[in-house]
């Protein structure tokens, strides 16, 4: 599952401008950096003769061209994958880091432009999509910060969002433990307890990521959002490619590296898919886009090792991350990696619709079995294991275990069978309920022939 935060520590060197007092010093650093970069020469894209501040695609670009270059990638991803319909309410997952900061900026720009066209258009038939922002605070599982620090950070985040115009955007700030709110009173200790049952450091890290996605889904569902937008960029996705490979998740890997992911109740889209973390950080510097990374939970274990590895590769060759992503793109995506609901593409102008013609299906849900915890589709061997488990099952927890992929089973689910039951009882009901319904319906299938319908009349 692609990280909801910025690039999982893969080296976004964005400025940590967290308070106005430091702004003066920050500006000095920024202009110093810009002066150094400017040595690259003149912009190779436009005739303006402006100093080049960044190199992208082998060309030195001035500020405006660089921004346009990145915005172009964002817009292309959104339009060519039909990510946002006019009727959509888009929830942006905002981590405070450079990538999601840029996503926020670009999304807002797109919305402004759409509002402008709407205002000047004759028909005003189609509405303009709505935008909301979600921040998942993981304070209860972070290293302790002072109350003052966390409050300031949260205020900063609210300020960043409200500084954008036009209009008020809803900001949803929810603690991670809220995923348990419908099942438990003391959600914080519940979260701590279930996390403490996971021995493996990497397993804990990945478990929290899965909870984060669940949290976003919950916020989206409860507030009527129809799309979730992540700031995941090339660098973060490249890290995910390697860490998934290293965890034995080679089969499910393609599911997480596409532009579109409709596995979830609220589909997830990745518009910064083709932008490097470095570029996004640089844009934040150049345009003084404020970021807030105090509440970032650094990746740990294998995820952290991979991030350092990718950082070294990047130093040796800046386009390595693109290459890694390109390799992963050659793997076959899944049926849920595109929008196939009936009539989904109707909102597109007719000249663009033919592109998606073969994609619109009958709206039926996809057939893959997904891991209970991480949502990864099951490989053949995992399916075989599940089938045989279904027949041999003694306790519910046996079935739950069989509905976890091999990676989650080995790094997240406790080894000790005595603690199995307790562990699964602590998991969000939303996850275990799916297994309960699946097993009930399979039971029903087995006895279907013998059930009498109410309407059956012997006469």
């Amino acid at each position: 599952m692609a990280a909801a935060s910025s690039c999982g520590g893969a080296g976004c060197g964005g400025p940590h401008c967290s308070s106005s007092a430091a702004a003066g010093a920050e500006e000095d650093v920024t202009s110093e950096r810009l002066r150094r970069i400017s040595i690259a020469g003149v912009c190779g894209k436009c005739d303006g003769g402006g100093a080049a501040v960044a190199v992208a695609g082998g060309v030195g670009m001035c500020r405006e061209c660089f921004r346009a270059h990145l915005f172009g990638k964002f817009k292309l991803a959104v339009t060519s994958n039909a990510m946002v319909r006019p009727t959509d309410a888009v929830l942006l997952a905002f981590s405070g880091g450079p990538a999601s900061r840029v996503a926020l900026q670009f999304l807002q720009e797109m919305q402004s432009k759409a509002i402008q066209s709407w205002e000047t258009s004759n028909s005003q038939a189609l509405p303009v999509f709505g935008v909301g922002v979600a921040f998942i605070d993981e304070i209860s599982v972070l290293l302790p910060k002072t109350k003052h620090e966390t409050e300031t950070a949260i205020e900063d985040i609210k300020a960043i969002v409200s500084s954008l115009s036009p209009g008020d955007k809803a900001v949803h700030i929810a603690p991670l433990e809220d995923v348990f709110s419908s099942e438990s009173k003391d959600v914080e200790s519940r979260l701590r307890e279930v996390v403490s049952m996971i021995d493996d450091e990497t397993g804990r890290d990945d478990f929290l990521r899965s909870l984060r996605m669940l949290s976003l889904q919950k916020i989206a569902r409860e507030n009527g959002y129809t799309k979730i937008m992540l700031g995941s960029c090339t660098s973060g996705i490249a890290c995910h490619v390697l860490s998934a490979t290293v965890k034995g998740q080679g089969y499910s890997l393609p599911a997480d590296v596409q532009y579109v992911d409709t596995r979830w109740e609220v589909p997830v889209v990745l518009p910064l898919h083709d932008c490097l973390a470095q570029e996004l950080s640089l844009l934040c510097e150049i345009d003084s886009l404020k970021t807030q990374q105090l509440l970032d939970r650094p990746s740990s274990g294998i995820n952290n090792l991979v991030a350092s590895f990718v950082a070294r590769l990047r130093e040796e060759n800046p386009s390595r991350e693109h290459t890694i992503l390109r390799t992963a793109q050659k793997l076959k995506p899944f049926s849920f990696n595109k929008f196939s609901a009936n009539g989904y593409h109707d909102f597109l102008p007719s000249r663009l619709r033919p592109k998606f013609q073969n994609v619109d299906g009958d709206g039926s849900t996809f057939s893959e079995i997904l891991c209970l915890i991480c949502g990864g589709p099951f490989s053949e061997s995992e399916l075989r294991n599940l089938e045989s488990a279904k027949h041999k099952v003694q306790k519910k927890t046996d079935l739950y275990t069989a509905y976890c992929c091999q990676s989650c089973r080995s790094q997240i689910v406790p080894v000790d069978t005595n603690t199995f039951e307790h562990f699964f009882s602590l998991l969000p009901k939303f996850w275990t309920e799916k297994v309960d319904t699946a097993s009930v319906s399979s039971l029903r299938d087995q006895i279907e022939d013998y059930l009498l319908e109410d309407s059956d009349d012997e006469n």
Partner: protein
């Protein structure tokens, strides 16, 4: 603890030292990397050899009566391979005809020692040895090549030539199969490197256990862990270091990488490039000329970049060869060894 009689017969392990988890008798001498179990030497040999035997049987790697060449570099992996195979062949009656096959790249100082080791292996394990050299096959040693092109891309030459050398040597010996000392770490590294390089076709093939004509294609150091003196490749160094760090955090990660590699959803059309034969030497090739012939052409014409990188090399008629290099050009590839039926 026991009576003095017992103590005399079986000196009890020192207080505080651990016993082997397998036999419970002998002192544990090491921790198995795969499982972290503490195990004594004798048991380690037993489980190690047994696992190799199981791998061979479960994947039906051999048939009785087959002639099998063991790619022998003189390094620890191929030495162990030679020992284990000859031992298992004898113990379980595989009925195999085993040979040692070694490649001499012609790197002074580097290969000399390893070739001595292989010659010792020949005597120790009673396996006939055949050495094929780049000089005989291509008319160039690696020393010559590095003198001509320097240290950039020399690994490409060596890798391509070595692959062919093994195959040609095997053909000379009329063997049915080649076995190499690739272990899990090598394969895991190859999986990672193919991801980093964007080589999806190789990525799909590199976890196959059976070495066919298009089996795993290691590019630089297929057998040895020690650094070749001509290879300054930092990039591969990062990957190797990463794998070592990874193993420390999670030993089973190596096998997990291989499992990922086996499960990658790669469409079958990308798997097999069309199999033809080289016009010049008859070796298997998907292009008109095989990679080795292309590279050699470059060397012989003083155009060492020919065949390096992604640009498609024109395969039209080649011009006159320079007179002083003509004997190299007509070397082995056509003359001595004829055309190959693979």
């Amino acid at each position: 603890m026991g009576s003095t009689d017992d103590a005399a017969r079986h000196p009890p392990p020192r207080a505080g030292s651990r016993l082997c988890v397998r036999c419970g008798e002998r002192k544990a001498a090491l921790k198995r990397p795969k499982t972290l179990e503490q195990i004594c030497r004798e048991c380690f040999y037993i489980v190690f050899e047994d696992e190799i035997h199981q791998t061979i049987v479960n994947n039906t790697l051999f048939k009785a009566g087959e002639r099998v060449a063991i790619g022998a570099s003189g390094g620890k992996d191929s030495t162990v391979l030679a020992y284990v195979l000859s031992e298992l062949n004898r113990r379980h009656n595989y009925g195999l005809d085993l040979f040692l096959l070694s490649v001499d790249e012609g790197i002074t100082g580097y290969r000399d020692d390893s070739l001595e080791t292989v010659k010792r292996n020949e005597i120790q394990y009673g396996l006939p040895l055949k050495i094929v050299s780049y000089k005989d096959l291509y008319g160039w040693t690696m020393d010559d090549i590095v003198k001509a092109i320097g240290l950039k891309n020399n690994c490409t030459f060596c890798g391509v030539f070595r692959r062919q050398a093994l195959d040609r040597g095997a053909a000379l010996l009329k063997v049915d199969k080649i076995v190499t000392g690739h272990n899990a770490d090598d394969i895991a590294e190859t999986v990672l490197l193919n991801i980093l390089r964007g080589d999806i076709a190789r990525l799909s093939r590199c976890t196959f256990i059976t070495t066919g004509e298009d089996g795993p294609i290691p590019r630089c150091k297929p057998f040895k862990y020690t650094e070749c003196i001509y290879s300054p490749n930092a990039y591969r160094g990062f990957a190797r270091e990463f794998i070592k760090d990874l193993e420390r955090i999670r030993p089973r990660a190596i096998l997990d990488i291989i499992r990922s590699g086996e499960n990658f959803r790669i469409s079958t059309t990308t798997r097999m490039p069309e199999q033809g034969t080289c016009e010049r030497c008859g070796y298997i090739s998907s292009q008109k000329l095989c990679k080795a012939c292309v590279l050699l052409d470059g060397l012989n014409r003083g155009l060492p970049k020919l065949g390096i990188g992604r640009t498609r090399v024109g395969v039209g008629a080649y011009g006159q060869q320079q007179a002083k290099r003509s004997e190299r050009n007509t070397s082995s590839l056509q003359g001595k060894h004829g055309n190959f039926d693979f």
